[in-house]
Amino acid sequence: MNDGRNGSSENQVVYELRNLTKAYNGRTVLEIEHLQVGKGEILALVGPSGSGKSTLLRLLNFLEPPSGGFLSFQGKEILSGPGAPLELRRRVTMVFQRPMLLDRSVEENVAFGLQLRGRRNNRDLVQAALKDVGLESLARQRARTLSGGEAQRVALARAIVLKPDVLLLDEPTANLDPYNVSLIENIVRRLHEEQGTTIVLVTHNVFQARRLAQRVAFLLEGRVVEIAPVTTFFESPQDARTAAFVRGDMVY
């Protein structure tokens, strides 16, 4: 993990956010005082809809620049003007709530990110990724003929074939049946164990957060109300609002 060149803890931090804000048309939707994401951890972001979870994820994916504050990735500051350079951007990828497959075959979809990087001989990697998600038999099929669960697994294969340093998951199982939910959770867990991928998961499902994450952050109205290791978060939350959310009492 730590190669010892750069002191100790610096290397372990993938993202660092300080006083980070995001505003649309003058309305602030996100205001993060301080947040660190450690290398190799699974961090879940939970909270009601409109709490800024997805916006935060989009900033972590460099899809949008922050409006203010400090954001760094792997020790490099991301400036809001030029945004993240391509080389850094390509170490992070996201799986969206909807699979967002291209109108091509399943294997072409999985090969897509590799092709963007100019890696043409990718058959073996694509096959392996499809095997990881249990869909190697559908490689030649057109993506638009897949069921919802299959499509989302292809989307996951398309992301993990890139071996990203960070995998961002935005409600990846929100529209799926329990069978596919558990399949996808297992794939994510295995990816984390085998490759040590850093994962940031956005979910409104507290049970999923509990099953997968090591740390959980609770967002409300664009702010982090509480962030804690998973056990602490669920068993002895410090903030009354977190407690209400965990109990399922929060009305929103």
Partner: protein, 220 residues
């Protein structure tokens, strides 16, 4: 009449083909840009584009005529860049202007029909802006090919502009549509009908070819 007819067919195809090539080469990038980018003045350009899509070709023919004629603004300049009146090149210019808004407008609509979140996904997977635009264009391929078909249809069948700027000169600027007008006026209805059938046939074959290009995209 045999070789003469062949010449007319070939000239029709050449003029409309080259004009389509130009309007496609300019129209598709413009359509993609208009579909993907938001910038100041975009609405005005879109409005101009939409107007151009329904603009009477004969009026465009008139503009090009004025532009190229000796008494027109460019007549005196004698620029090597602009073609002379009553030449196939002048017809190409007029037909390019007629078909360009159709290609650009329909391409823009097709690109805007692609889910914006798909574009974000493509960027998230590591695409450069150029790669993202190309990917969106490929997703919109059915609509883009429709835009080319519409552009071709608008010029192969067009008569007013080619008549004005081409002059329907035998052996030089006579194309299928202007030949039909002429033969009908002379009372040669059989020949006019035969030419009409050739025009229809050409149009049909050209569209079949483009649908073939569209290929799998149209299935299901």
């Amino acid at each position: 009449m045999g070789t003469e007819l062949l010449e007319i067919i070939l000239l029709s195809l050449r003029v409309s083909g080259i004009a389509l090539l130009f309007s496609t080469l300019i129209g598709i990038p413009v359509g993609v840009l208009m579909g993907l980018k938001r910038f100041i003045g975009r609405r005005v350009i879109v409005a101009i584009l939409y107007t151009g899509m329904g603009f009477p070709p004969v009026v465009i023919g008139l503009f090009v005529y004025m532009l190229l004629s000796r008494s027109g603004p460019l007549g005196q300049l004698n620029q090597p860049f602009f073609p002379e009146l009553f030449t196939p090149e002048a017809m190409v210019l007029a037909q390019t202007i007629i078909s360009f808004p159709l290609v650009a407008g329909f391409t823009m609509a097709a690109v805007m029909g692609v889910d914006p979140q798909l574009r974000q996904q493509v960027v998230s997977l590591g695409a450069t802006p150029r790669q993202a635009a190309m990917t969106v264009l490929r997703e919109a391929r059915v609509g883009v090919i429709v835009s080319i078909i519409a552009g071709f249809g608008s010029i192969i069948s067009e008569v007013g502009a080619v008549m004005l700027v081409g002059g329907n000169i035998e052996g030089r600027t006579r194309v299928l549509t202007t030949a039909i007008v002429l033969e009908t006026r002379k009372g040669n209805f059989e020949l006019a009908l035969a030419l009409g059938a050739v025009l229809l046939g050409l149009s049909f074959v050209a569209n079949l070819a483009m649908m073939k290009l569209q290929g799998r995209a149209l299935e299901e």
